[in-house]
Symmetry: C2
């Protein structure tokens, strides 16, 4: 244990957190060895028990909602917090879907025989203990715990204070079901306090926790990155671009751009900036802008855009780096392919970007030049998603490069170890 | 840029570091696109120029050695610091070997066609900017820069203060050769200061540096982990075990245990603790201990061991968690397979562990039960090494689970991005 951790550990709260993390660590070893059958039985029992305990969970949820109303939470936040009948059923369905996925643990890759006869391969194993720190939506409790459990990991969960009663109720149901299915105590630990010092104490336990996955806004992620001595997998901004090339099929480009902006503007793979090659701007923009305006999209453009479509408001320099997450779009006309790529590299967040073009070389260059976790040709950025990619599940979309990049499924919640079969080899 | 970084950036030193990191970031984009031919030509030119500048490098090395002697460095440290003719030639050879390896960049894996016609795959790409922080040996400068360059990454290097003159001389040769070969300025940045604040400033630039690889002792690694907001790949202790099972071939066990301890005791994959099943302890230990004593190994054992081999000194509880890195070995007799595995999990460092057994089920269980980066059956732990595993190169042996575990080769210095070929798909 480090000196930093030693100091922290002086408070009763930190001691309580340490005990829970130790319980998770203790559970991790048997959990890593649990068969897929056992894990799936636990997940199905969790699903049944969530449904059977719907009214209890909703009664606790009502406490959170009452507190939220008293504290003046916005209507949008109160909505995210509310566990309707449908949402409870959705949680249970999510658990059943995760039970139906293949178990990633135990796959052996790259096994080969070395000249000295050693057979060496990599086997996929759980990471160990995963810490999940999240904000308001209480269904994340079930979702995150299930993904970690299916991939053989113990979990330490810390949800947002607005949902504390709902989260505790859900976590209790999950824990009881896991225990009844024969999984060890500690498989799912939930920090049942709203004291932020508990998060700080959790983030220093790099001797016990293998990775932290924060799911929330920029402030949360920044705090976690600056505080944690445990490796963090970040899920940050999506400032996604559609570039309409001079060789684009303009009808296709309008469908893709419209879909990328309007289909679900509140998510990270929605388009925030539309780049249009000057050679096609006069043909492309008027009908495109009209369609966006009809759909209620507020448009902000560069001077050239505004000369073509005068109803567009002027964009400021800040617009190019903004993740709107709503029906606002910035539009810029570029003189060349290079200008488009430079814009994406300078202003984008390396999340998901697409080019619309019928030119072979431009398509290939874009795939190579753009350093984003997902790079598309002739498709909407909205496809950047674990389900759409066939990963079967998604714990989030990583915006960092280490370990996992882009949509993260169950495999990204595992690591590997080398296994070596010998018959007496020694090194000379 | 974060508030933390903002504050730090007020000093001229931090501004200088920031400028160098920015230069590396700028180089990363063209470097990621450089062909294998260009990168290999640069590496071969570096090798030639290191040899051509041997005397200049050695003259600078002599300044470090003089300062080291004045500062009372130990003979061992002075030896590690010395650039003999052979070691300079070894550096050049290392560069040529890296040039000969296959380029990991550009490999596409798992490409498949989704039901909607999208073709989705992962392409291997460089991480971007890699920060390497290391201690005394100056040849790490050439080795680390070359591995990063071959995998398409820009590097920011920070070597130990004892080797500052040698490192600057080597870095200058590498930088000039890279430039002459057509690679961008900034491909290899070296922080030419011994001020520790430069390290702190470097470790906060998570907006520019993608990963930090510290290579050095525990103190360095702890400092980096606690300070860095950039993801860190740790290379920590190797407390490696050999477990001689009740079903072991005892002659084989003696060869493996001897090799694991004596072949090269100063490295992380050397054995530190020998575990012996009680059923074979009387047969196994006397000849084994005699052989170790003949080789100059100091033995420290449990009570049972000492009853069998009275010349063995008593082991304390601390011995089980000690990475000796020299000719000292702790020995413990265990009552069962489970006791052996529990000992390894409790006291080991999850680096490399081996079982010697002829029992099929014990072998399979050991491979599954032991959570170490390399788990062996009937072979010496000394094989835990990137070259022995066929990775072609090794930047180190990761003791963490995220991104890379165990021996790290060139592939572990890359990440991936998703590339998606569409023909107009939008999400419904």
């Amino acid at each position: 244990m480090s000196a930093q951790l030693d100091d922290l550990m002086q408070t009763p709260l930190a001691k309580q957190v340490r005990e829970q993390v130790l319980a998770a660590k203790k559970a991790a070893r048997p959990l890593a060895r649990a068969s897929a059958d056992t894990k799936n039985a636990a997940l199905l029992r969790m699903a049944d028990d969530i449904e059977a305990n719907r009214e209890t969970i909703q009664a606790e949820n009502e406490k959170d909602l009452a507190a939220g109303r008293a504290n003046g939470l916005t209507a949008a936040l109160l909505d995210r917090l509310t566990l309707t009948d449908d949402r409870v059923a959705g949680m249970a369905d999510g658990l059943r879907q995760i039970a139906a996925l293949p178990d990633p643990v135990g796959e052996v890759t790259g096994m080969s025989t070395r000249p000295n006869g050693l057979r060496i391969g990599r086997v996929r194993v759980p990471l160990g203990v995963i810490g999940i720190i999240y904000e308001s939506r209480p269904n994340v409790t079930a979702d995150a715990a299930a993904l970690c459990l299916k991939s053989g990991n113990a979990t330490v969960l810390r949800g947002g204070s607005e949902a504390i009663h709902s989260n505790i109720a859900i976590a209790r149901v999950l824990q009881a079901a896991a225990k009844e299915a024969g999984l060890p105590d500690g498989s799912i630990e939930f920090l049942g306090t709203t004291d932020r010092q508990a998060v700080t104490a959790m983030l220093k336990q790099d001797d016990l926790i293998d990775v932290i996955v924060p799911r929330g806004g920029k402030g949360l992620i920044r705090y976690v990155v600056e505080t944690s001595t445990i490796p963090v997998i970040r899920h940050e901004d999506g400032i996604c671009h559609t570039y309409v090339d001079s060789a684009a099929d303009l009808d296709m480009a309008r469908e893709i751009a419209f879909n990328a902006k309007v289909h679900r503007p509140s998510v990270c793979n929605a388009m925030e900036t539309l780049l249009v090659h000057r050679a096609v701007a006069n043909d492309f923009l008027p009908a495109m802008c009209a369609r966006f305006v009809d759909a209620g999209v507020e448009l902000r453009g560069c001077e050239v855009t505004r000369a073509i479509a005068p109803s567009v408001a002027p964009a400021t320099e800040e617009d190019w780096g903004e993740e709107y997450l709503e029906l606002i779009l910035s539009i810029r006309v570029v003189d060349s392919y290079d200008e488009a790529v430079d814009h994406i590299e300078e202003h984008g967040s390396h999340h998901s970007d697409t080019v619309v073009t019928d030119d072979y070389r431009t398509a290939q260059r874009f795939l190579a030049d753009v350093d984003s976790s997902s790079v598309f040709v002739n498709a909407s950025t909205r496809f950047a998603d674990g389900y759409e990619y066939g990963l079967g599940a998604e714990i989030g979309i990583s915006t960092q490069k280490l370990h996992a990049r882009g949509p993260m499924g169950l495999e990204e919640l595992t690591t590997y170890k080398f296994i070596v079969y010998g018959d007496g080899q020694v090194r000379s």
